[in-house]
Symmetry: C2
Subunit: 351 residues, 2 copies
DNA sequence: TTGTAGGCGTTATCAG
DNA sequence: CTGATAACGCCTACAA
């Protein structure tokens, strides 16, 4: 009976209204309030109305921390982007956001600037939330990341690019195919001197995958790949630089067509062309990648390949939701293709 | 002693290694493991080494849910964006992400597509996480949102735009000032017929704030504001549409200068100009807003105002961190200006 | 339909 | 520097 006379200081609380407060006000037990939120159909209409009223008045909001801890289901999804600022990843995030809207899943975001070790830190940080799923945007990880991911108890989805042989779900398209398709577009028009122009940016491994696809198509056609890299960091500058280099090559040895690693590079070239006395596609044809909004409005309109980052993000979210809903969240990894589309415009028309 | 012979089914657990497992392996109590993570200096070097080893081997990661619940400090920051897909918000997110990198704060993201009720849902959802802070990107909320925010126990930061009289922290710049500055730029050159061109997009209230600033400057100069709206949804199309409309007005009644609500609109106009026989700035001068990467490379190079969304996001994160670190997290709301810069280029040079 | 008992994995408090 | 104890706010299991 004797509490030893010593009174322990109350520990710090959130200082908020709890489920018990609401229960007391309604004259029911707290589990009934819990059910009101998680299984309203199990609460009688009368009690339900009373609770609705009280919850409205008190502004009670259930604690996610407590709820997720007790239910052993976090309902958070970690998303690791490479460059949140770029339109590709921004659209991916938007698609994921829309996909999760109303599902009760919360999106945790991390950005890595294409750095593997930042990705590893992000993955590690996310693991602590015991996420319902993890969405990544690359397929080459540090060994530690890879180990963490394989040991994870949640679905892992790799998005944007798709490569064979991965142990995780994938949503996107094979970047190498883009390079192949563009090369073939020019090969089919009879071109034999076709160049691939990118930036010296080792972190942009997707551009390199596209370059590899281009090279394969060239070799398959019995031709020598011609991949050139610009030292400029800025894509528009890189395009302008590549154009300047081209303008100095003898016209009869110049490539008949140039595939730029991105629309931005191609745009840089198009905007710099008048100053160099170059005309597209008369002097040589060009194409890009990304289908930037201005691609269609430029003169000449830019031939490009249109990826669908928004749809990829949306699909990734849907894959997560269906794995969560399905009876088998540990379903074997599947690959979901969200193909690109070749958009042929004036800039790639060879004489 | 008799357990009544009935065995309760074990409740669902996360099925993970816990702090107790690690403690048992190390032969210490679990609180020591907790200290290893939260206050390593309070753990003896010997024990620390042993724990490091064991944590490495087991791959143990502390549960954020449990930790945050127990410590009554969520260490999550909710960010509500209007349009994640646009470069402005993408840069804001990037800045915030970099600002929180390494701080231990997790970013929760929501997107609203400029819809107030989606914002309200997002705020409500975030409240359940008892966030360490909430970052918003507008200052006009539904009454319910506003009430939720005022009742929130965490710092609220409104970003991007800045308006007087709000009860929350603000980081950004007054959009009306941008409109004023551009109007004055043309007024100073002697222009009297100056138009502001925007889209009929009521959700884009920032563009309307810029238009209002423009209108004020016009009135202050004794002139009549001329605000015209395009019905096009797409900004580039809207710019082209406005240009077409302008090209049909009699040259002597045409505006001498047009302020477009965004660079994209201005770009649409510039790209469509050759087709309409219009030349900038000879026929009339133009300016935009946003400093899109191509603005400087177009012909003519586009005069624009450069906002710094990345810096605003970064600053917002820093404000949150300093409030968290400071002894007074309930400091009175402050306004942090991250001013824009007027970038004068060829397109705005009046004869 | 409602309630009781107990635990989810961690950290705050107080005592060595 | 280390540990025992008792929460944090909610939900699962079971019983009525």
């Amino acid at each position: 009976m004797d509490n030893a006379g010593r009174v322990r200081a109350p520990r710090r609380k959130l200082g908020i209204r709890t489920i018990h407060d609401v229960a007391a006000l309604a004259g029911v037990s707290s589990i009934t309030v819990s059910r009101y939120f998680n299984a309203p159909e199990k609460v009688s209409p009368v009690v339900r109305d009373r609770l609705r009223q009280i919850i409205l008045e008190t502004g009670y909001v259930p604690s996610q921390m407590a709820g997720r801890l007790a239910s052993a289901e976090s309902r958070v999804v970690g998303a690791v982007m490479q460059n949140t600022g770029s339109s590709t990843f921004a659209d991916l995030v938007k698609g994921m956001g829309d996909g999760f809207e109303g599902s009760g899943l919360q999106l945790l975001l991390a950005n890595t600037e294409y750095l593997q070790d930042r990705e590893e830190r992000a993955v590690r940080a996310f693991m602590g939330w015991h996420p319902s799923a993890l969405i990544l945007t690359r397929d080459d990880h540090t060994p530690e990341s890879e180990a963490l991911l394989r040991a994870a108890r949640c679905p892992i989805v790799e998005t944007w690019g798709v490569v064979p042989g991965r142990p995780f779900h994938q949503v996107g398209f094979p970047h190498a195919d883009v390079g192949k398709e563009l090369a073939r577009h020019f090969l089919a028009q009879g071109a034999r001197r076709i160049r691939f122009a990118l930036r010296q940016a080792p972190q942009d491994f997707r551009a390199q995958q596209r370059a590899q696809g281009y090279a394969q198509a060239m070799v398959a056609a019995g031709l020598t790949p011609d991949v050139q890299a610009s030292s400029c960091d800025d894509e528009l500058d890189a395009g302008a630089q590549m154009l300047e280099r081209l303008s100095r090559e003898p016209p009869d040895q110049r490539p008949q067509a140039v595939i730029f690693a991105s629309d931005n590079m191609a745009v840089g070239a198009i905007l710099a062309a008048p100053g160099r006395g170059i005309r597209f596609p008369q002097d040589f044809a060009i194409a890009g990648f990304g289908d930037a909004p201005i691609a269609a409005r430029l003169h000449p309109a830019l031939t490009t390949v249109r990826p669908r980052p928004y749809d990829i993000g949306l699909k990734a979210a849907q894959v997560v939701l269906s794995l969560k809903a399905g009876r088998d969240p540990e379903a074997p990894p599947a690959t979901h293709l969200v193909p690109c589309e070749l958009i042929v415009r004036e800039s790639s028309r060879l004489a």
